[in-house]
C-alpha cells in the first residue's frame, strides 16, 4: 500500500484503499454467508429453533446479560467515584453494552448456559401454547390458588413462592429483569464474563487512562462482581420453587396422576416437570428435557414408571399435542394402548440410566459427542 506520495487528499486515498480491501474480502464473506445459509437450510427441522423460540431466546439472553451488566457497572462506577477516579466512573457508567463482545468471543455459546436458556424458552413457549382448560366447576379455584389455602403451611408457602416466581419470570418480558434466575454456577460465570468484558475495553484505552487507574478499575470490578455473585440466591428460581412445592406435596402414587393432569391443565409445565423430577429422583433440568422432547417416548416411559393410568396419560398427551404441532397426535393415539400396557417395572428398568449420577451421565454424553472410539 503506498501512502508516501504526500498526496494532499490523503483521507480520500485511505478511504479508497479501504474500499478496495473491503471489496477484495467480499468474496470470502459471500462464501462464508453461503456456507452458513447452506448449513442452516439442512438443519433437521426437529432440532432447529423456530422463529418464536429464537426471538424468545434472543430476548432472554440479552436481557440476562443486561441485568448482570447494569448491576456490575453501577456498583463498580460508584466505587470508582468514591475512590477518586471519576473519569473512569463516568466512562464505565455510560459505555456501550458488552453483549456483542461476549457473543463474538463465543462465550455465550456455553453448552450449559444454552441448555438452561433453551429449556427455559421452550418451557415458556409450551406454557403459553398449552390449551386453556376451564374447570368443570367454575367456582373451583385453580391448582396453585387452592394449594395456597392448603392446611399444611409448608405446601401453602411453596405454592405461593411458585406463583410469585412465575409472575416474576413472566414479568421479564414486561421490563428489564433485575435478576437472572439462573442456577448459581451459570450466574457466577456470566457475572465474571461481564466483568472481564468491561475491563477489556479500558485496557484498550490504557494510554488515555491515568496511571494507577487500571488497578483501581480491577478492584472495583472484582468487588462489584463478588457482590452480584453473593446476592444471587438460586433458591428463588422458578425451577427451585417448583421443586420445593413438589417435595412439600410429596404426592403418593395415587395422588400423582391427577396432580400431573391438573398441572398441565393449569398450564404450569415447570410444576409438571418438578412433580416427575421429584417422583423419579432426577433433577428439574432432566425432567424438563423429557417433558419438552417432542418425540415423547421417554415421557410415556416416565409416566408408566410412575404408574400413571391410561386416561391421565391420554389427557397429558392430548394437551401436549395441541400445544406443539411437532408432536404427532395421531401416532400417540395409535400407540396409547401399548404405552398403557407397559408394566411399570419394565418402564423403570428402561429409565435406569437416567437415574445414574448426573456427572457420570454428562461424561458419557460428552464422550459420545466427541465421536466413537
Amino acid at each position: 500500500m503506498s501512502s508516501n506520495d504526500g498526496d494532499m487528499d490523503d483521507g480520500t486515498h485511505r478511504g479508497v484503499s479501504k474500499l478496495l480491501a473491503r471489496a477484495a474480502a467480499a468474496d470470502v464473506r459471500a462464501d462464508r454467508r453461503l456456507a452458513v445459509a447452506v448449513d442452516d437450510f439442512f438443519l433437521p427441522d426437529e432440532s432447529r429453533l423456530d422463529e418464536r423460540l429464537r426471538s424468545a431466546l434472543g430476548g432472554t439472553l440479552s436481557a440476562l446479560v443486561a441485568a448482570v451488566e447494569s448491576a456490575v457497572r453501577r456498583h463498580a462506577a460508584r466505587l470508582l467515584a468514591t475512590r477518586g477516579v471519576p473519569e473512569l466512573s463516568i466512562e464505565l457508567e455510560t459505555g456501550d453494552p458488552v453483549f456483542s463482545r461476549l457473543a463474538s468471543a463465543g462465550l455465550l455459546r456455553d453448552v450449559e448456559l444454552m441448555r438452561e436458556l433453551v429449556g427455559r424458552a421452550r418451557q415458556d413457549v409450551l406454557a403459553e401454547a398449552l390449551p386453556v382448560d376451564a374447570p368443570e366447576d367454575p367456582d373451583r379455584a385453580s391448582l396453585l390458588a387452592r394449594l395456597i389455602q392448603h392446611p399444611d403451611s409448608v405446601v401453602a408457602a411453596a405454592a405461593m413462592a411458585l406463583l410469585a416466581a412465575e409472575s416474576r419470570r413472566r414479568g421479564e418480558s414486561e421490563g428489564l429483569p433485575t435478576r437472572t434466575d439462573l442456577p448459581a454456577e451459570l450466574h457466577h460465570r456470566l457475572v465474571w464474563w461481564v466483568a472481564a468484558a468491561l475491563r477489556e475495553r479500558f485496557v484498550a484505552l490504557a494510554d488515555e487512562t491515568p496511571n494507577g487507574a487500571l488497578p483501581a478499575l480491577d478492584r472495583a470490578l472484582v468487588e462489584a462482581a463478588t457482590r452480584s455473585v453473593s446476592a444471587h440466591d438460586e433458591g428463588d428460581r422458578l425451577e427451585a420453587a417448583a421443586m420445593r412445592l413438589a417435595a412439600a406435596l410429596d404426592a403418593r402414587a395415587d395422588e400423582l396422576p391427577p396432580l400431573l393432569v391438573e398441572a398441565i391443565a393449569d398450564r404450569r409445565p415447570a410444576l409438571f416437570a418438578a412433580l416427575i423430577a421429584h417422583a423419579l429422583g432426577v433433577d428439574h433440568g432432566d425432567a424438563r428435557e423429557i417433558l419438552l422432547d417432542p418425540a415423547a417416548d421417554r415421557l410415556w416411559l416416565v409416566l408408566r414408571a410412575l404408574e400413571v393410568d391410561r386416561a391421565s396419560i391420554a389427557r397429558i398427551g392430548l394437551a401436549l399435542s395441541e400445544a406443539d404441532p411437532r408432536r404427532d397426535l395421531d401416532s400417540f393415539a395409535e400407540g396409547l394402548d401399548d404405552i398403557a400396557a407397559t408394566p411399570a417395572t419394565d418402564a423403570r428398568a428402561a429409565l435406569a440410566p437416567l437415574l445414574l449420577h448426573p456427572d457420570y451421565r454428562a461424561a458419557m454424553v460428552a464422550l459420545g459427542r466427541g465421536g466413537r472410539a
Binding site: 376451564a134 367454575p138 410469585a164 413472566r170
Partner: protein
C-alpha cells in the same frame, strides 16, 4: 341471520363405535343432512368424525373448536366428544356463522396482549377469580404486597366500585364471558383509584377459564376523565392520529391493491384457495382501512375546536346519494334499498359531507344486519322544526338494554358480528349532535332496527 347466542342450550348427538350417527338434536341432524349424511350412516362432517375417532381412541373427553362447512357458509362449533359404553356423546355449542374474514377469532387471542400493553400493569385470574398472575413490581410501585395477593380473590386486591350508571362492568363481563373496560376500583391497601379492563380466556369448548386483565392507574388530580390538553382528545393526540393516518394508509392501500390483483388472478392462474386467501387479505385490509378512517374522524370530532358547517342541505337528496353509494354492497348481500323518491325534498341545515357520512353509516349498518332478500327502507319526514331521515331494516333488532350501549365508543350492534370498529355509531351521533341534530334508535329484538337521523328543518 343466524341466531348465535353462545348461551343457548347445547346441541347433543351420539355416534356409535363404528362412527355412525345414532341420534342427533335437530340442528346437528340438519347440519349433517346438508353435508350429505343421515342417521344410521357415518357422520358426514369430517371435523366431527375426526374428533369423535380421537376421543374414542384416547378414551377421554376431547373438546375442540371446529369450523364446518354449512352450504356456502362456515359455521364455528365448540364440540365436546365424550366416549362412553355405547359410543361417543357429542355436545355442541357455538354455532356461529363465520364470515370470510373474522376479526374476532384474532381478537380473542390478541385482546389480552393489547390490554396488557395498554395498561400500567397486568393481572390474571382463574375462573373462580383467584389471582394467578400479577406484574411483580406493581406491588412495590403502588404500595401493596404482590406476593401475598397471588392465589387470593381479585376482590382482596381491589375494592370494586360502580360506574356512573351504577353498574359493575366486571359482572357483565363475567356473566357474558366477554371483555369489559372501565371497571372502577381502588387498591385496598392504599385506596388509590384505578380502572380495570380485562378479556376473558375461554377453553376449547367455550367455557370460561379466567380473565386476562390490565390496571390503569388514575391520577388523583383528574379522577374522572383524562385531561384534554392542547386539543388532544382521550389520549389520541393530533400528531399520533396524523402519523397513524399517514403510516397506515399507504401500506394498507398497497396491501389491498395487491391482494385484489392476486384474487383477480390478473398475473396468471392460481390455486383457488390461494386466490380466496387473497380475498380474505383484501377484506381484512379494508377493515383496517375503515378503522383508520374512524380513528382519524374520532380524533377530529373529539377536539374541543371541532366545528361543522351550517349550510343548506337537502336531506332527501343526501339519503338518495348515500343509498347509491351502498348499492353495490347491498346487491352483493341480496338486500334491496327503498330510498326516497327522486322528487322528494327535505330542506335542512347541516354540513353536506358530514350528513352523508352519517347516513352511509346508518344505511351500511342496516344492509349489514339485513337477512338475504331483505329490505332496507329510507324515509324522509318532517316534524315541526325537525327534518328526519328514518332508516329501517329487517335484521334481528336491538334489545332495549343495548340501545344506549351501541352509541358508545368501541361498542357494536352485535359484538359477535365480524367487521366494524365499534366507532361508527358513536361518530355518527357526535356528528349529528354537532350539527344540532341527533341519531336515535328504536327497535325491539326480532322486529328490525329503526335509526332516526335528525337535523334542524330549514324553512
Amino acid at each position: 341471520m343466524n341466531v348465535t347466542d353462545p348461551m343457548l342450550p347445547p346441541v347433543r348427538g351420539l355416534i356409535d363405535r363404528e362412527g355412525r350417527l345414532v341420534e342427533a338434536d335437530k340442528r346437528l341432524h340438519d347440519l349433517n343432512a346438508r353435508a350429505g349424511g343421515g342417521v344410521g350412516q357415518p357422520i358426514a362432517i369430517p371435523q366431527i368424525a375426526t374428533l369423535t375417532r380421537l376421543a374414542q381412541r384416547l378414551g377421554i373427553l376431547v373438546s375442540r373448536g371446529v369450523v364446518a362447512a354449512d352450504g356456502d357458509d362456515d359455521v364455528e362449533l365448540w364440540v365436546r366428544a365424550e366416549p362412553g359404553a355405547d359410543g361417543v356423546k357429542l355436545m355442541i355449542t357455538g354455532w356461529r356463522t363465520r364470515a370470510a374474514w373474522h376479526p374476532e377469532a384474532l381478537q380473542g387471542e390478541r385482546d389480552g396482549d393489547f390490554l396488557r400493553s395498554a395498561g400500567d400493569w397486568s393481572w390474571e385470574t382463574d375462573s373462580a377469580l383467584r389471582i394467578t398472575f400479577l406484574s411483580i413490581n406493581a406491588g412495590a410501585k403502588h404500595g401493596f404486597d404482590s406476593g401475598a395477593m397471588l392465589g387470593q380473590p381479585l376482590t382482596k386486591l381491589f375494592a370494586l366500585g360502580e360506574d356512573r350508571e351504577g353498574a359493575f362492568p366486571i359482572l357483565g363481563g363475567l356473566a357474558m364471558h366477554q371483555r369489559f373496560d372501565d371497571q372502577r376500583a381502588t387498591i385496598r391497601a392504599t385506596g388509590r383509584p384505578v380502572r380495570l379492563s380485562a378479556a376473558p380466556r375461554t377453553d376449547a369448548s367455550g367455557a370460561f377459564a379466567g380473565f386476562v386483565g390490565a390496571v390503569h392507574m388514575i391520577d388523583d388530580e383528574a379522577p374522572e376523565v383524562a385531561p384534554k390538553l392542547n386539543g388532544s382528545g382521550d389520549g389520541v393526540s393530533e400528531a399520533f392520529a396524523a402519523r397513524l393516518d399517514h403510516a397506515l394508509r399507504t401500506p394498507l392501500g398497497r396491501i389491498i391493491a395487491n391482494a385484489d390483483s392476486i384474487n383477480a388472478q390478473s398475473e396468471g392462474p392460481l390455486r383457488q384457495d390461494y386466490a380466496d386467501y387473497a380475498a380474505d387479505i383484501a377484506s381484512a385490509g379494508r377493515h383496517l382501512m375503515g378503522l383508520v378512517d374512524d380513528l382519524v374522524d374520532l380524533q377530529a370530532i373529539e377536539r374541543p375546536d371541532f366545528v361543522v358547517a351550517k349550510e343548506p342541505v337537502d336531506l332527501a337528496d343526501v339519503a338518495r346519494r348515500a343509498a347509491g353509494l351502498l348499492a353495490v354492497r347491498a346487491s352483493e348481500a341480496q338486500v334491496s334499498i327503498d330510498k326516497p323518491a327522486p322528487q322528494e325534498v327535505l330542506p335542512a341545515t347541516g354540513e353536506f359531507r358530514r350528513a352523508l357520512q352519517v347516513l352511509v353509516n346508518l344505511i351500511g349498518n342496516a344492509v349489514r344486519y339485513s337477512p338475504a332478500e331483505g329490505m332496507v327502507w329510507i324515509r324522509a319526514e318532517r316534524e315541526d322544526g325537525i327534518a328526519a331521515i328514518i332508516v329501517a331494516d329487517q335484521g334481528k333488532g336491538i334489545a332495549i338494554e343495548d340501545q344506549a350501549r351501541i352509541f358508545e365508543k368501541f361498542e357494536r350492534v352485535d359484538p359477535r358480528e365480524p367487521g366494524g370498529s365499534g366507532l361508527g355509531l358513536y361518530i355518527a351521533r357526535r356528528l349529528a349532535r354537532a350539527m344540532g341534530g341527533d341519531v336515535t334508535v328504536d327497535s325491539a329484538p326480532g322486529q328490525g332496527a329503526r335509526f332516526v337521523f335528525t337535523l334542524p328543518y330549514r324553512e
